[in-house]
Amino acid sequence: MTTARIVGTSVPRMEGRDKVTGRARYVDDMVLPGMLYGATVRSRVPRGKIKQITFGPGIDWTEFVIVSPRDIPGKNCIALIEDDQPCLADGVVNHSEEPLLLLAHPDRHLLAKAVEAVSVEYEPLPAIFSMQESEKLCQVIWGADNIFKSYLIEKGDVDAVWENADYIVEGEYTTGAQEQLYIENNGMIAAFDPLQGLTVWGSLQCPYYVHKALVKLCNLPENRVRVVQVETGGAFGGKEEYPSMIAGHAALLAMKSRKPVKIIYDRMEDMAATTKRHPSRTRHRTAVRKDGKILGGEIEFTIDGGAYETLSPVVLSRGAIHAGGPYYWPSVRIRAKAVATNTPPHGAFRGFGAPQSLFALERHMDRIAEAVGISPVEIRRRNFLRPGETTTTGQSVQEEIDLGRLLDRALEVSDYHEKKKKFATENPPGHSKKGIGIAAFLHGAGFTGSGERYLGSVVGLEGCADGSVRILVSSTEFGQGTNTVLCQIAAEALELRYEDVGIAQPDTQEVPNSGPTVASRTIMVVGKLLQSAALGIRQTLTASGKLGSSYSPEEFRDACRAHVAEHGTLRSLARYQQPKEIFWDEEKYRGSAYAAFAWAVYVAEVTVDLTTYSVSVDDFVAFQEVGKVLHPVLANGQIIGGIAQGIGFALYEKVIWQHGRMQNGQMTNYIMPTSADLPAIRVFFEELGNVHGAFGAKGIGELPMDGPAPAIINAIEDAVHVRFNSIPLLPEDIFDALAKPGVPEIASSSARGQI
């Protein structure tokens, strides 16, 4: 056995060559013969009854395929958790940009004009746009009380902690909507043949989610619906559930016209109509002892789900479970709810509720520190979870994580103490102020609680006729490295070379359902199943006498070839079994929420320019414990990319709403950082391993989203001594705070400079 180690090295990206030569084929690069182009007529009011639809002059409507709710063969819904979201609004609209009708035509350029020529008369209904209006039931727009879902997490006896508290610290923190802003807009092609059935190709994360939705919408048998993921230009959660909607639209047009139909959104449509990160509001009330130890607290976590339920219960769940962060809470009560407003439904975006609740918590920790008169470093150190202690859901920390050490390393590398002192004494009056801030956090990998068991993911590995090995999963590549790392895992497990392994295109006709590519689960959960499947292949070959217990890659190749020649196939499937130690009570919302947590401490250094009130992030240090790093370059890329999005979340990316519609839906006025805006981001990994993950890996895709915003806002507070509790924090907000008298400033004396 002479194969060099593959896992742990930075092998070439599997599909990298195609990407750097322009040969990678994304959905808009595909053309099918006779293809039509599709477009969507959308609501211009946030809530109302549809009174009349008129097809205006100047368009030859006979040339168009027109699909209305009446054309839907199955159920008019986009099946997800509930079936409340219509595929096409029928009679009533509940948000701006809600789809009403679909049009298709061979001339792509004619569609925009045709969409404009459809006029819709509404009887407007009063609409609500904020969580507050929704809670107050100014209008009831969903269910009986506007509440999509609520959770209650309780631990210990919260009501008893207030009496013995030396300090009671309260705070309210809010986060705004954030657009995923994948550079490739949503797109889908559908084709229908009465015998073959329906096929869709698209930019998507979860082929089987789309499959399930199409089966219900189009009333087709499961084996007559085929979903194929093509090269996807960024997703970040924005293509987790939304593709089911656009796939449904393309499918309906294809079924009616019997021609292939391509729908590609332009940027304005994609921004205005598709999902964004859930806006949130978190209220903390915490009982603290004079030495800084948290005795207990109440956390109220509310998110705005938009007009339909979609994935809000799951976002809520993750946000609620993460609301206590990496700290030991002897008792806590977390009340979480997701409420409805008349805005386009909010959805999955990297972090999925955790960036929201962790922003609040990590801001709140600094507030607690200030109230108690202890440093932000010490307040965290004293409250960190230790091995054997339990989380807010009562999950015992099983691994030897030393968060204090992680913190110390981060502080050392970022030169935190020196800088904090230096900034405090050197911040001159006027011009600019520097500050440094910390965030400590965790991120659970995989689906929550019994989610993985419910998913029952299946992973396949097959030996091919030429002796190579091919991975069969529905897990998708969209930049994060799925293809590469899964191939590394299979090659390592089979003791082959990286080049001996390939991976099938995610095509529901070809691959089993390994679950959605979300929740930072792919390498950890799917990768681990792949290891099992590899073992299965090996066992089959050795059992048949074709392979010894140790072998060279060439010998494997020969054995595989021979086996396939003899038996026709060589295939191994592995199905997820939940480890017995992971027990979760869905009703009480207690137990082991996640199979593994990654842990992190981030440090941000900022300058606040008092001439322009803008903030620049000058240095960023990211320390995380992630199990095992399977591919250093890809892992670094994930962390840096996530931090860049987190910086955007904190300082740049504001969705401007008017009557429930995004007003700044263009790249010129929805601001994401350019290469000129980001500092060098310094990334460090600690590796403890993980028994539940492939080769010890934990999930890392979402982790980096949780830390940057609170670290930065903490740093800004350090710089200018103003308490900001809301993001995105724009220069205009900083100006308003500094200009107003009676601003919520901190009482601390020694560090206060002149503003």
Binding site: I183, G479, I640, A676
Partner: protein, 165 residues
């Protein structure tokens, strides 16, 4: 070659793409981006925003980096266009493309063609760019996946390896 002002029909426009003469019969106000992608099948150049902000549609026109979504094809008449497809010759990767692979400069890949062309343009002007030069040179190309660092490293590395176009 221009369209008659009496008859806004299609007209013939010729230019060079990746060293080859291309003649297309299109409306003169078609965007160069669409002509490259649909008429010539060169789908390596992408549309990310349609407003010249993201740089995914970047090509070289007469040696200059431009956003092809903002160019009416009539203005490309007689020009020398280079797209991403024109960079790799005989199936071998250029130095810059290899550096992108080695440093993790491409994740989802959608910004990559434009980003590579922007880097080519930069390296042509500044063969050994500083980090600041690279940041500025790529500031018109948006990447949502990488946070730019590994792209910047790739360009710096390509400079060190003597990338020449």
């Amino acid at each position: 070659m221009s369209a008659s002002s009496q008859d806004p029909a299609k007209c013939e426009i010729a230019f060079t793409v990746n060293g080859q003469l291309a003649t297309v019969r299109v409306h003169a106000m078609e965007r160069l981006l669409d002509v490259l992608r649909h008429e010539l099948g060169l789908t390596g150049t992408k549309e990310g925003c349609g407003e010249g902000e993201c740089g995914s549609c970047s090509v070289l026109m007469d040696g200059l980096l431009v956003n092809s979504c903002l160019i009416p094809v009539l203005q490309a008449s007689g020009a020398n266009i280079v797209t991403i497809e024109g960079l790799a010759s005989d199936g071998r990767l250029g130095v810059l493309q290899q550096a992108f692979l080695d440093c993790g400069g491409a994740q989802c890949g959608i910004c990559t063609p434009g980003m590579i062309l922007a880097a080519v343009h930069l390296l042509n002007k500044k063969p050994r760019p500083t980090l600041e030069d690279i940041r500025e040179g790529l500031s018109g190309n948006l990447c949502r996946c990488t946070g730019y660092m590994q792209i910047i490293e790739a360009v710096a590395e390509a400079g060190r390896r003597g990338a020449a176009t």
